[in-house]
């Protein structure tokens, strides 16, 4: 059960197009995410990664197929699946504490005010914002706003954290710090994470598995790259790791050329139900590598 905590089973998304036809964003996606795994999805804009995330969140429905979480089909939104939105989506009329407490009081509806505030304050402290709890979002920098977004998501103790390019609007320094903290918090709590990103380095630093999606329309999950970097990696050091460039080059090659060629002509034997798992670098099984890199 734990290796298929999230089970994406053959989902597709189609939108009606002019002339009675329909546009298929993605088709027949299959994916398994184990409990406590950190999964990053990489693909070009328009491949439907955000749609998959919205379906996971319960904000959208697939045209076909279903997603199971912990063995149950997703029907609508749930407090077990918290979303960290790309544009932080804080309620500007509430303070930092008010924003986090709003989520806490939604989770524990019968909790007293003191308990709600205590839980909210713990989450705020976890993201390093203690002392700023009475500020309004307009008084915070972009990085601090996104920290509040993370605190709000963590405060409800979700089983799954869904992140939609959470750090893409931040400057490089802030992004680095936040990535580090996000990784630390998720590792400490054994959080299962589904995250979308455009940033290859971010994916290599954060993810246990990197899911590669081809270009849309008719996007597919091409392959799943296992991250060969050690679990206790540090952000400033990962580019010294002997396997770092093997992964990075593989990902960039995919984004530059294979994301199109793969969609139009998948390699022989590619099965959408079982997208190949790619292991790279010195730690990889030698048989898997040449076959998958032969593009």
């Amino acid at each position: 059960m734990t290796d298929r905590f999230i089970s994406v089973e053959g989902i597709s998304k189609r939108y009606p197009a002019p002339g009675g036809r329909s546009t298929t964003i993605f088709e027949d996606l299959w994916l398994r995410v184990g409990q406590g795994e950190f999964v990053c999805v990489i693909g070009h804009s328009g491949c439907g990664k955000t749609t998959v995330l919205n379906i996971l969140a319960g904000l959208d429905q697939p045209s076909d197929g279903a997603i199971l979480v912990d063995g149950r089909e997703i029907r609508g939104t749930s407090l077990d699946r918290a979303v960290i939105f790309q544009g932080h989506a804080l309620l500007p009329w509430k303070t930092v504490l008010g924003n986090v407490a709003y989520a806490v009081s939604s989770r524990w509806r019968s909790a007293g005010r003191q308990e709600i505030e205590a839980r909210a304050m713990r989450a705020i402290a976890k993201v390093g914002l203690a002392g700023a709890e009475h500020k309004r979002p307009s008084e915070l920098s972009g990085g601090m706003k996104q920290r509040v977004g993370i605190a709000r998501a963590l405060a409800i103790e979700p089983k799954i954290l869904l992140m939609d390019e959470p750090f893409s609007a931040l400057d490089a320094l802030t992004r680095g710090t936040l990535q580090e903290e996000a990784r630390r918090i998720c590792r400490e709590t054994g959080q299962t994470v589904y995250m979308i990103t455009h940033d290859v380095d971010e994916a290599i630093y954060l993810a246990d598995k990197i899911v590669l999606m081809t270009n849309g329309p008719n996007a597919k999950i091409a392959e799943i790259v296992e991250n060969p970097l050690p679990a206790d990696r540090r952000q400033g050091d990962i580019h010294h790791d002997p396997n770092f460039y093997a992964v990075r080059n593989h990902l960039i090659d995919f984004l530059v050329s294979r994301s199109v060629t793969f969609r139009d002509a998948p390699p022989a034997g590619w099965d959408p139900r079982h997208p190949p798992v790619v292991r790279l670098g010195s730690a990889a099984a030698p048989a898997a590598e040449p076959a998958s890199r032969a593009a």
Binding site: A57, G58, L59, T77, S78, L79, R81, A82, V83, F85, G87, A89, L91, P92, W93, Y102, A103, S106, R107, R136, P137, S138, I156
Partner: protein, 279 residues
């Protein structure tokens, strides 16, 4: 000149005021004897003919009248002679009542329209048709059905202040950011709690803008409505003083109506500031 802008503006305002009052005083003061005439005849003709004095009152006359009204605003000397304070109270009472009823109708209906595209489309033709109708056009219908001039003017206030609030509420509710609604959805917040904790605060600045427009319109319309139905109120007072040919009192009323309108607008402006959030 390094005084702050506020002080300089104040100084300029005072200067303009003094210039206007001065020009007014000079324009209406007499030009001396205009013609030699028999004293008895002159008495008959009045000052306008004999000394060139204007029929318009001078600012000093108006000042004296205002002072008189301020000293005793609430006197009652018969049904056609009540203090300006009492007349204002009548008008304010009608505006408040009609306006509050409009708030109670416009905000819930605006929510309904804003949240349901179906209701929005279904009600749109009615709103578009009724909104441009002058509120006074409702007066005969109101008088015929309600048969009470006081309540009829309250109805007219209601009908004129309902539209801006309704339209602004619907617009504010419909344009609440999708991401805020998604936050509420992912937190499994129910529809009622969502309406009060997300939609209402998000739409409040737009709703208050509509309320501010409405109170302005209501105060414009009450004067005309009371001129029409008579009896009591500041509008009736103006018309009554016109019938008395007391231009001094007419000018006084104009100033009083302006001041009260300004206060009402400022009250709503303050409420608007209170609910506005910086992004």
């Amino acid at each position: 000149m390094t005084a702050p802008l506020r002080l300089r503006a104040l100084f300029l305002s005072l200067l303009i005021l003094v210039l206007c009052l001065g020009a007014w005083q000079i324009a209406v003061s007499g030009s001396g004897a205009t013609a030699d005439m028999d004293p008895d005849y002159a008495k008959l003709m009045g000052q306008t003919a004999t000394t060139g004095k204007s029929a318009m009152p001078s600012p000093l006359d108006v000042g004296k009248t205002i002072w008189g009204h301020l000293r005793d605003p609430f006197y009652v000397r018969g049904s056609n002679d009540k203090g300006i304070g009492i007349q204002l109270a009548y008008s304010l009472g009608r505006v408040t009542l009609g306006y509050l009823i409009a708030v109670l109708v416009a905000i819930p209906v605006g929510f309904l329209i804003g949240m349901s595209p179906l209701m929005g489309r279904a009600l749109d033709p009615f709103i578009q048709l009724l909104k441009p109708v002058s509120p006074l056009a409702w007066m005969p219908l109101a008088l015929y059905t309600i048969k009470d001039s006081g309540i009829s003017s309250i109805f007219v206030i209601f009908i004129c202040s309902v539209w801006p609030m309704l339209i602004n509420t619907a617009f504010g509710v419909a344009s609440v950011r999708k991401e805020w609604l998604n936050v509420a959805r992912t937190l499994e917040v129910g529809p009622v709690r969502r309406a009060f904790t997300v939609i209402l605060p998000a739409a409040a600045p737009t709703i208050l803008t509509g309320m501010r427009i409405s109170i302005g319109i209501a105060w414009l319309v009450i004067v005309a409505a009371e001129m029409l139905v008579g009896g009591t109120g500041i509008g009736y007072f103006v018309w009554n003083e016109w019938n008395n040919l007391s231009i001094t009192n007419v000018i006084t009323s104009i100033l009083v109506i302006g001041v009260v309108g300004m206060i009402l607008d400022q009250l709503l402006a303050q409420a608007q500031r209170a609910v506005t959030f910086p992004e």
